[in-house]
Symmetry: C2
Subunit: 328 residues, 2 copies
């Protein structure tokens, strides 16, 4: 089996590739080849037992999608995107990458035309929803994004469903919760602070909290996100039917509950490293975001999270990213 | 006020232009100029009191949108589309006109960049919804189209909302019910038979009914459709907020109820001109279509229909299209 990962240098993309190489298989199928693509060169994994190629480039320029598809990958994980804050600040770039790039990929597959029909796993986002919301958003709630990023993801979802229905791809779109705790350096996502306020204090650093503690949001660990992707890459999509885009399970928590969990798991001293500095731009974006979901359909289709509580989310970060130890 | 109508040679487009020329104004504003555009030359109205231009061409080719926008129309009615049956049979054409063409228009407006922000009225469709449905579809039900046409319209709706939010246009999308009774010759829309079975018998001709009498669908007269467009072109959009796409009011009726109304209004002899000839292709499309809507939000925002019953729908056709007389 040949697997192509777009956005392989990103945080979730790297973790997905690590998992695929560690498992050596995706579901029942042995992996023979892994192509890792990103706009910056993905770091080549050491001592891989299979053929691993890294490809650097912009997938949204003419001919790029065709080149990526030339190796006829059996499964494509499409995680490449301009994140929410950047897509809001750079209108053209957001639409070019998040909409046109995805469509170019889908069209490159469609135009092969010899019956080629890869599994196409697309990472969508809960940003396809826009306030006002019900207390918990159900699986049939409409998409009224309040950001260009969410608009682009919602459009991609529609394309994915239509291209699947037409038989060009075997597609599934998964709306990831906000990933928490996101390791590494902050990126341009407006949701960055949900992770910053936990990751930085655990590393002995101060963190800025730009929003009030009452803000409620929807979270899942990187470990869960990789689990969702692997399940999406292997599950039987006949059971999914024509409604190919699913809200993934997650944990709903307020910022206050996040901080309380941090205190329980790591202590008061660590939590005291969080500084409150309200930021109107971040708040204006976050205000339109969802707080809680039902995600019944995804659960019924076998998507499960690795964590049961916010304490688990923090423990998983300490285990997976900090070798079991944080800075007290 | 300068008004641009795209799709001005189409049935609803022609009727809208007739109404605008007859009224001489849109809301409070006097109309000084009307540009009628279509892929086939719109028929130039006789004895118009204002400047009327007709423009023939494909609006989805490079530069066409810029040319159309060059006259800085204050209000744009965008009714141009490849209809459902054709967009399903010709994938490329459907996406090129229904998605790319609309986006080119929106981008041409966006790129003016001097504060130009026209009212942009977009005719969407109930084909943005896909079965299974609740008994009556509410205003917050999700879009899972089962046709490429509906996919394209749903994408256009998302673009319209985002471009409005960004301040490039003052946009509103209105999801028209199936227009009944559609005058003139049948077009390639799969929904054509809902009108054919009434219009043809009233003209003394036989009509083919390709679906069972139990099929329920959602209808409005051409007169109501024009009324919706005029209201959308004049209403205060601040009250609409960021959710810029609305399901229009209509009448829910089964084919059997349509035929019963025809019998009441025109008699048994007229209704006997309907011949039952089931067509699996038409049925496979119609099976995925909505049957009934709540349309509460549109009604609350002042959208009203001209008809109260299916008998009214037939009477309005006889009045508006047949000079009051049908063939007995």
């Amino acid at each position: 089996m040949h697997i192509l990962v777009l956005g392989a240098a990103g945080m979730v993309g790297r973790k997905l590739c690590d998992r695929l190489l560690r498992d050596g298989r995706l579901g029942q199928a042995e992996i023979s080849r892994l192509t890792m693509h990103d706009v910056v060169a993905p770091k080549k994994p050491e001592k891989a037992a299979i053929l691993v190629e890294t490809v650097e480039g912009d997938f949204a320029v003419a001919g790029a999608a065709e080149t990526l598809i030339a190796g006829r990958p059996d499964v494509i994980f499409h995680l490449a995107a301009i994140v929410s804050g950047e897509a809001e600040l750079d209108f053209d770039k957001g639409y070019r990458i998040n909409l046109d790039g995805t469509r170019m990929l889908l069209d490159a597959i469609r135009k092969v035309g010899d019956g080629y029909r890869p599994r196409f796993v697309f990472t969508s986002s809960i940003a396809v929803f826009g306030a006002p919301f019900p207390e918990a958003i159900g699986d049939e709630f409409f998409n009224t994004p309040l950001l260009s990023y969410g608009t682009q993801k919602a459009i991609d979802e529609l394309l994915l469903a239509d291209y699947s229905r037409r038989g060009f791809i075997d597609g599934i779109g998964i709306r990831l919760p906000t990933i928490c705790i996101r390791p590494g350096l902050p990126n341009k996502a407006a949701s960055g602070f949900f992770s910053n306020i936990l990751r930085e204090p655990l590393a002995g650093k101060e963190a800025i909290l730009p929003a009030p503690e009452t803000v409620r949001h929807w979270h899942a660990t990187p470990r869960s996100a990789v689990g969702f992707l692997v399940h999406a890459g292997t599950m039987d999509l006949v059971a999914v039917g024509p409604r190919r885009n699913l809200t993934m399970p997650g944990l709903s928590a307020t910022v206050g509950e996040q901080i309380a969990a941090l205190k329980r798991v790591a202590g008061e001293k660590v939590a005291a490293r969080i500084k409150h500095e309200p930021d109107p731009f971040i708040m204006s974006i976050v205000d339109g975001w969802p707080r809680n979901f039902e995600a019944r359909r995804a659960r019924a289709l076998g998507f499960t999270t690795a964590e049961k509580s916010f304490d688990d989310i923090i423990r998983i970060h300490i285990e997976d990213e900090l070798n079991g130890a944080f800075v007290n």
